[in-house]
């Protein structure tokens, strides 16, 4: 359980997060949605302690995040940042291998090698494993970073817009793998999503942010309605059902 209490955050003159109170339940996929500039990425980076909380408190299973040390946190929570622009030239196999670093500390065991091989296979990277990061496409690089976090094998997995640059097949495959991890391995996933159809199809819980505040939060089918989404994005959005599936429509 991640609890956020009275969290506020300002960057320069702008109030990015304004008194956020949230509970993120373990075991499930929670999607963080909202318009540009709503504070989604900032919330994710404060929750993952990439950025220290300015005021308010974030706790992980009842323990104040500030008191958990780096190495211990890396065994419990993995983060994939939005910007994976990388200057270093690593082979994809080595990058994914660094996902085992918190466990192996530079002495990888055969078990670590197995997990890395499995992560590569899972994200369709086996054939690219010996290529350098600057010799693959943006989507492939994105998948490599997700695979690294996957190899880290933590209870919590936080991803900031991981579907950027991914084609439809790999985006779907990533969401279904996250879903599978949540359902069958008891992992907890917090993911920033822009495409509402991915959110409504794959997420168990939704947290919607607007102007640094929580607009609404709850079970996906309860809170994702035409009315709430239209208000959130100030755009006509309809939630429809067809053949037992719900989807979101906002084009003309």
């Amino acid at each position: 359980m991640i609890s956020v209490n009275g969290l506020s955050h300002t960057i320069g003159p702008a109030k990015i997060l304004d008194d956020i109170n949230l509970q993120i339940a373990p075991g499930g996929v929670t999607a963080l949605i909202g318009p540009n500039g709503a504070g989604k990425s900032t919330l994710l980076s404060v929750v993952s302690r990439q950025v220290p909380a300015q005021s308010g408190e974030v706790s992980l299973d009842g323990a104040d995040m500030k008191r958990i040390d780096h190495a211990a946190l890396a065994l419990r929570m993995a983060v994939v940042a939005q910007d994976v622009g990388v200057a270093s030239r690593l082979r994809i196999r080595d990058l994914v291998g660094f996902g085992r670093w918190p466990h192996a500390k530079g002495k990888p065991s055969p078990k670590d090698a197995d997990i890395v091989a499995q992560a590569l296979a899972q994200f369709d990277l086996t054939a690219l494993a010996d290529r350098f990061l600057d010799e693959v496409s943006g989507g492939q690089r994105q998948r490599a970073f997700v695979a690294m976090a996957y190899a880290q094998d933590t209870d919590w997995l936080l991803l900031d817009e991981p579907l950027n640059n991914l084609d439809l097949r790999h985006a779907r495959r990533l969401m279904s793998e996250l879903r599978n991890l949540a359902q069958n391995a008891g992992k907890s996933i917090l993911i920033v999503l822009h495409d509402l159809n991915y959110a409504i199809s794959w997420a168990d819980h939704i947290i919607a942010l607007k102007d640094g505040r929580v607009a609404f939060a709850g079970e996906t089918q309860d809170v994702m309605t035409s009315r709430t989404l239209s208000a959130l994005y100030e755009t006509d959005v309809s939630v429809m059902a067809k053949d037992g599936k719900t989807f979101v429509w906002h084009h003309n």
């Binding site: 990439q50 780096h70 211990a72 890396a74 940042a81 660094f98 670093w101 600057d134 970073f145 690294m148």
Partner: protein, 316 residues
């Protein structure tokens, strides 16, 4: 290319050959019939060769560390003000406390280059990450300003000739007893090898480092101190050798990538080899006179640097 297939063996063979050549070149002959041969070997040739190898290896290693920490391919201590700051520190000691022992001078120079490198980090933190070439440009300007300050102070104190010695890396004055501080630089490079993984992870950026549980601040501090101390040691003992720390990591990165655990020995070996080659050329070109190794590599390195800048593929 042989380096790609057997990087360690190739590097080692080239180093052994070059070291052999370096030991047997010089005015005094090393043949059996020269009664002083042993003395020449122990007092001059071996120390000189060791000094060149240690210098080349350690500045190439701090070059790659700096590039990973700044996350920019085109920086190294001598193009970012670190070396100039060390010279300012040395000038300060030479003027204010000329009687201090070499170790004290060394400490002051290290502290000064530490301040210099911190200044560089402070400046570049404000630069937009979308413009990677701004960082080396700011580094060159910053280094130029510090260098100008050093020249001014040296001119006022009538110490320009000292500055000349520090600015041109050369090994002709190396004798046993005059280069041993460089073993410390070599030792720091070895320590860097044991923390290679940490530096590689740090090269992925702050966010990825924190996510993997790396104490990012500590690794950054360790790296900065290593870079500052090695730069100061090299300036104090042999003088500035530009471009090595820039060119070598770029070439090795193209051949084998940035996983330091794999590439650091080759970076060190190639740095040592290139400086040794420059030193040998400098000794042979106008025999029996010498051209400083720093000058020789300045010419070679500038050409390679231009080729790297202009001929690079999509990756920076």
């Amino acid at each position: 290319m042989a380096v790609r297939k057997h990087p360690y063996i190739t590097t080692l063979c080239v180093l052994l050959i070059l070291s052999g050549v370096s030991i047997f070149i010089g005015v005094g002959s090393l043949s059996w019939d020269n009664p002083n041969a042993m003395q020449v070997l122990m007092i001059s040739r071996l120390p000189r060769t060791a000094a060149v190898l240690l210098t080349g290896a350690s500045i190439a290693v701090v070059g790659v560390i700096m590039q990973l920490l700044v996350r920019n391919r085109f920086v190294e201590p001598s193009t970012t003000g670190t070396t100039e700051a060390a010279m300012l520190g040395l000038l300060a000691v030479a003027i204010l406390a000329p009687g201090w022992p070499i170790i004290a001078k060394m400490v002051v120079a290290s502290l000064a280059s530490l301040l210099g490198i911190l200044g560089f980090f402070f400046l570049t933190r404000r630069l937009p990450p979308q413009q990677p070439l701004l960082i080396p440009l700011v580094g060159l300007i910053y280094g130029g300003i510090l260098g100008a300050a050093a020249t001014f102070v040296a001119f006022q104190a009538d110490m320009i000739q000292f500055l000349g010695i520090w600015m041109t890396g050369e090994f002709s004055g190396i004798l046993a007893g005059r280069y041993e501080l460089l073993w410390l630089a070599g030792g720091l490079a070895v320590i860097a090898y044991f923390t290679a993984d940490q530096f590689t992870v740090a090269g992925l950026g702050r966010s990825a480092s924190l996510s993997l549980g790396l104490p990012y601040g500590q690794v950054l501090a360790l790296g900065i101190v290593t870079v500052a101390v090695v730069s100061a040691l090299v300036v104090v003992t042999v003088g500035m050798l530009p471009f090595i720390g820039l060119v070598v990591p770029n070439i090795v990165s193209r051949l084998m990538g940035d996983n330091l655990r794999e590439s650091l020995p080759v970076v060190a070996g190639m740095g040592a080899g290139l400086v040794l080659l420059s030193d040998i050329i400098g000794r042979v070109a106008r025999y029996p006179y010498e051209i400083p190794a720093g000058t020789v590599f300045g010419v070679i390195g500038a050409c390679i640097f231009l080729w790297l800048l202009l001929g690079r593929k999509s990756y920076a």
